[in-house]
Symmetry: C2
Subunit: 514 residues, 2 copies
């Protein structure tokens, strides 16, 4: 029993809690991925140095804007930057030096300590889609997302073996007022799942609510001494840090909570229409953002993010799973490792309107590059549709199934005596058959990854069963999973305290729109 579980058990206290724990069904979740494979490195040392030099030139010559944030400007001035209006010019080398106090790896705690994740190094943590205002399923089509949809996605995430993280805004619950929905979302993550989750970033006060609710869930002392949230702070590319996002970052950093500092770039619009230029801007922005987190609190956990995609110059639509996005992601992974920072990128990205072949090609391209580029935190790892406008129920379970393949690939190739299988080759010999041999019998159960969703049946069986495509199989799986959902064990007193907090907060403010 480690410190966390001991502490929790003490807090849980009474008989009701113990009864709840005993009766609860627990769904299996794989441990976060620990890569036993190399990273794919596409940029040469020379190219990396050019990009790093140019990024420092951007910070010094051009500078970055910290908008509506006199406090931030003061921190930068004290650190030695040259402030002109809201523009911060950062002397060559300063931002990189400030980044050194950020940890290269950190633990994000879950309320179930078995679900804790390590973010950084060789680890890869998979979290679901974030942010779509719409949802889609085969039966109901495309529609505005509701809090019921949100809860259903959290349930699916909890039940997905290959998903390590419950995520954040898995969809925008548009039936709840903008200033209140973060409370319901956090409550859902905290009660319907026991996996780690993300906090709100849409207002500094909502970030504070997130910290306060974590205080109830984990205990205030625990929150101050451990990271229990990893939240998404986007930079307004190019080179603009707005007060809302920075305000959230400030709350989290002060409370020792992690932020992903992530440029949000559609190449050709928010960054140059070239890979090297985009990487340069991404690096400059991340250096400034991460450095700022360390000015707020030295040692605050932070992730270098890179959400970058290309644009279709015909229609202006963002495109996904493209070779340029892969180039940028591989390059950004190299830059992150040279900064010694955890790296966030990739996801189940696609532009398709349906979870069809386009969606799957684009997504598979993106998931593969994510694994091989050394991503440590993969947001949007399942469920993303239509350029992120839509969270798809079917695609959620389709992608979540594919994530199993990443686990197996990342484990690398065993080369011990059993794996060499020389006895099997001797036993079977030329012209023989391996199905019945001793080595096959001993190893077949764990030898090959197997999809839990795809159809592997003979054509005739498949036709008799209705010639279902992947969408239809996924739809059936969504229905089955949601019908079988059972919440994880939870201390009823904590659950009640969270409900009271949410109710009181909501009662204290009128509904806000947008």
């Amino acid at each position: 029993m480690n410190e966390t579980s001991a502490r929790r058990r003490t807090r849980s206290g009474g008989g009701a809690a113990r009864r709840a724990e005993r009766s609860a069904v627990s769904f299996e979740t794989a441990k976060y991925i620990e890569r036993n494979i190399p990273n794919f490195e596409v940029l040469s040392e020379e190219a990396l140095e050019i990009i790093e030099t140019n990024a420092e030139t951007i910070l010094e010559e051009i500078g970055v804007n910290f908008v509506n944030n006199p406090g931030a400007l003061q921190l930068w001035r004290d650190a030695g930057a040259d402030i002109r209006g809201e523009r911060v010019h950062i002397p060559r080398g300063l931002a990189r030096a400030l980044c050194k106090t950020a940890p290269s790896s950190f633990t994000q705690h879950a309320r179930n300590p078995d679900r804790n994740v390590e973010i950084g190094g060789k680890s890869l943590v998979l979290a679901p889609v974030y942010g779509p205002p719409f949802v889609h399923d085969v039966k109901g089509g495309r529609r505005y997302a509701t809090m019921e949809d949100f809860r259903n996605f959290v349930k699916l995430g909890y039940m997905s073996k290959w998903l390590h993280h419950s995520g954040g805004t898995v969809c925008e619950p548009t039936d709840v007022a903008v200033n209140k929905r973060h409370l319901d979302m956090l409550h859902a993550h905290m009660t319907l799942s026991d996996k780690p989750f993300m906090g709100s970033v849409t207002e500094p006060s909502r970030a504070q609510d997130s910290v306060d609710m974590c205080g109830i869930l984990f205990g205030n002392d625990f929150v101050q001494n451990n990271t229990v949230m990893t939240s998404l702070v986007n930079i307004n590319s190019p080179m603009t840090f707005d007060d809302v996002m920075m305000g959230a970052l400030e709350v989290y950093a002060k409370n020792n909570q992690a932020c992903i500092v992530s440029p949000f770039i559609v190449g050709g619009a928010m960054a140059p229409v070239s890979v090297a230029g985009t990487l340069t801007q991404v690096l400059a922005e991340v250096l400034a953002g991460v450095a700022y987190s360390q000015l707020v609190r030295k040692g605050a956990p932070v992730i270098m993010g890179a959400f970058v995609t290309s644009i279709d110059m015909n229609s202006g639509a963002p495109t996904f799973g493209t070779p340029e996005a892969s180039h940028i992601t591989y390059g950004a992974g190299q830059l992150a490792r040279r900064l010694n920072l955890p790296f966030r990128s990739s996801g189940s990205f696609c532009g398709s309107k349906l979870p069809d072949a386009q969606a799957a090609y684009e997504t598979a391209n993106s998931l593969n590059m994510g694994l091989l580029s050394g991503v440590n935190f993969m947001l949007h790892a399942c469920g993303w549709l239509e350029g992120g406008l839509v969270a798809s129920f079917e695609k959620f379970v389709m992608d979540a199934d594919q994530l199993g393949a990443l686990h197996k690939f990342a484990a690398g190739i065993a080369i011990d005596e059993n794996a060499q299988a020389m006895d099997a080759i001797r036993e079977v010999g030329p012209g023989g058959h391996y199905l019945g041999c001793a080595h096959t019998q001993a190893n077949f159960k764990s030898a090959f990854w197997r999809s839990d969703l795809f159809d592997y049946k003979p054509f005739e069986t498949w036709a008799e069963e209705g010639s279902r495509d992947t969408m239809a199989l996924a739809s059936a799986r969504v229905t089955k999973l949601l019908s079988e959902y059972q919440p994880p064990a939870m201390d009823p007193a904590v659950n009640e305290a969270l409900a009271v907090y949410v109710a009181e907060k909501k009662a204290g403010m009128p509904d806000a729109l947008g």
Copy 2:
């Protein structure tokens, strides 16, 4: 004008040929891929040495069978192998030494010299699906393939910008007798396309027909001095070389034509249920097969093949796009490079019955691994469905479109001054927009790869146009391409001579079944 085109022009001779050339429409084909990216290497030096040592142990201790082939046994005996019955025991190091005379790279000539391909080194040549007895399209469903289907696939291949090669048995024309269909297939490749192609391997006499028909197309001297076919010779794994396949290899090697020496392995059935064991067996088989090609004719061009997939231990079905297949392909690429041989693997592999999301996930996994593993010749690069039982018209154009992304990714990342885009970043500055800047205007046309098939439109436009999924878009594209097809220019005399050869050959033999 190079040697080939000069010679052809001479041969073409008369005015009819020149008129045919002038009036013909030519479809754009991209040059074969020349990688400007590293390969992904998953095995350590130590693991590679273990596998290589074990492969030599297989060859020496266990041996390989050359069945019904006294000539082959004699060649092996003369080379120093120990022959016991049909079993060939190859002393440690002998096979590897024999392989050294195989070229590390060779040119396969096409009748249009612009379509010549280089096989080996950093090149990647893409060829379509091979072998399915069934075809599938959305309108007609799944049915036995006919010669008309075959011709349509050759036309689609000719019109596919990203496909460099016309392939071989793109589907089995089951309406033509088994002993005659190779003639019609070759005739189709030679006349309906001007891309390079593959010869017949189902009987040594059919390989000889292939050589003879190439004599008509290219001139006999040219064929003896240049490689104009790359044909697929499968090993009956484990460790069995049958007389039919070896007979074809002998014909091709003697005539300076290339063969892919390729184990055909469903892991767990024809090889051990482990990655390292499978790689060991693959290497042993390839060493024996390639060495044999060099015994037949020193310097004969040959490719190390590895068709390897895993098995679903529940149903016994082969599975595709799996992490184990990726491990094996990456490892096999490393082994091929250490042998200094061109490498064939990967393809548009999938087990799905439809060109749906399952098909696309599996295919994208496979195409990505093919590119990064250093494959030089990718057979089955488009059109594969249902474990290779089916050639799909829709999937052919879907996959062929994705192959464009491989070209762009393989080109690597430019790092010159234009790509660094520092002037653009200076021009736009914090909070600006890149769409209108000078750098974007100058570069946007070639900046980003764009699918010619996928839907990038806004949701509303897409819905108004009928909410089509990728299958529907692909079906429309197949219809459009086939309606626009025009044959490449060809000397009518050569065309006629080929037709006469086919007719005379067919007249001389009764139909054979199976």
